[in-house]
Symmetry: C2
Subunit: 324 residues, 2 copies
Amino acid sequence: MPAAKRRPKIVALAGGVGGAKLAYGLAAVIPSEDLTVIVNTADDFTMFGLRICPDLDTVMYTLAGRANASTGWGVAGDKFYAMAMLADYGATDGWFNIGDYDFATHIVRTQQLREAGLSLTDVTAELAASIGVQSRILPMCNEPVRTVIHTPNGKLNFQVYFVQRQQQDTVEGVEFFGIEKARPTEEARQAILAADVIIFCPSNPIVSIGPILAVPGMRELLLESSAPKVAVSPLVGGKALKGPADKMMASLGHEVSAYGVARLYAGTVNAMVIDHADAEQDDSIHALGMQVLATDAVMHDEADRTRFAHEVLDFALQVRHNEM
Amino acid sequence: MPAAKRRPKIVALAGGVGGAKLAYGLAAVIPSEDLTVIVNTADDFTMFGLRICPDLDTVMYTLAGRANASTGWGVAGDKFYAMAMLADYGATDGWFNIGDYDFATHIVRTQQLREAGLSLTDVTAELAASIGVQSRILPMCNEPVRTVIHTPNGKLNFQVYFVQRQQQDTVEGVEFFGIEKARPTEEARQAILAADVIIFCPSNPIVSIGPILAVPGMRELLLESSAPKVAVSPLVGGKALKGPADKMMASLGHEVSAYGVARLYAGTVNAMVIDHADAEQDDSIHALGMQVLATDAVMHDEADRTRFAHEVLDFALQVRHNEM
């Protein structure tokens, strides 16, 4: 009789939609409590006096089965009554829309951070648990960090660049304001050191995974872990599946391809998952010292998420085996 | 040709629903900008980290034509999506219900008080103006004051007594916590000193008008004003039209009648408006040194509000004439 196989612990690094989809798939193919998702918080901002964490919420709503699949943000079935009244008060110029369900999240979070003095890690754990999320969702750090996009029109806060100005500006530089004071949380540290596999979700490598890796001490922690690090390319056929990753990489002088993504992760990541469409980049990615899986990397529906998560996980465990 | 008659300036002291109805009527029969409503803020409280001012909001929504007439609180047509999500988060036990439109009010108010550093007077002015209120709505003071109800079950914050416990407790005493630090605002001072008529709306004399009069300096200011002070009894036939005024007066040892109300206001008020049902109390109220108008004091509908406001105003201007 073989010894009972230890259930592998998975850590996923994620931004918004793409990361949330893969995390959802992973939570479906392993016991969900074995998954920890470490999420970018450099997109966070304060509006109407409320602390808004777009990526944490996208991951949380997705894992709770409550994400609005058609918009890519917010809660399914949400309404906009509070927003309409805020417009009556002249309190909003309307570029950032928050649903009524969603407001509840920001209200509780703000109250818990401000009055109860809880950390963002603790507040996130409470919110997620109370709407039925069994995996662990961790902010990349508890300190506030703010992505600032340098453009010919000046320095723009991320949501202004991303939502208000619809990513129309050329990105000349990216800055993570406040990152020097950030540290990986104790919870993130323990999860990373206990992980059997670490997956970089198909999120924007510059502004989603980038800030996570830029937290001082985070890259060292990942290297300290003996788990294989497998990154999923968010670019398929040279295009971002969602968001501005392709334009942003181009204007920052990176090659806009799965290989370009691999180069950004070189030295941190052991393997890449790319789409069949990019299979011809296999050799050049190998040349960076990474193993490669080419598969169907587009998650159209829920079945896709599970299928893809299975493939990524099997590949990652194989990478692990090869390296041991 | 007679000299142009100066338009009388009206100040109304008000609590919630009854006060709001009369204020609405007054704003309909005089140029609305000639009306200033000074509102009780001792019912204010903080929930979900948001500053909630029930009486200010009832007056504001009513004057904006947006009050929910069937509930007596909140905004017409409001929905409760945020509240449902707050319940999912376990953040509310459900006794205090806030609509989505209403949340917008509390969100803007809280932000303006906290981040913009505005006074409650300024925030209220901005909110009211932006939803079309032309009369002036002033909080009784800018300092936080908190009505605490002493009961056999302990000291209860007003909303706990009023909403959560449905006024079931015997009222043994009433305390306005923090009132010693409150002062009439400069805006209230100027409005009172410029008033030609001061009307005490048909609001609870203990916990609605009571706190306004208890603001240190407020009673002196009212006495300094040469305008006649006319109080409208909130009791008709010995019963409160709404709320716990009758039970509260009884348990505090006051006579539960229009005369009992008049006695509470004796020394501050020159005249009372009472319902026909209480006409037999005319003589005893006269004996307190007050003039009396007995009329139909119940405002069933909008026509009633205007008719009644007209009568109260005509009577008050006559009181003024008699005294000059």
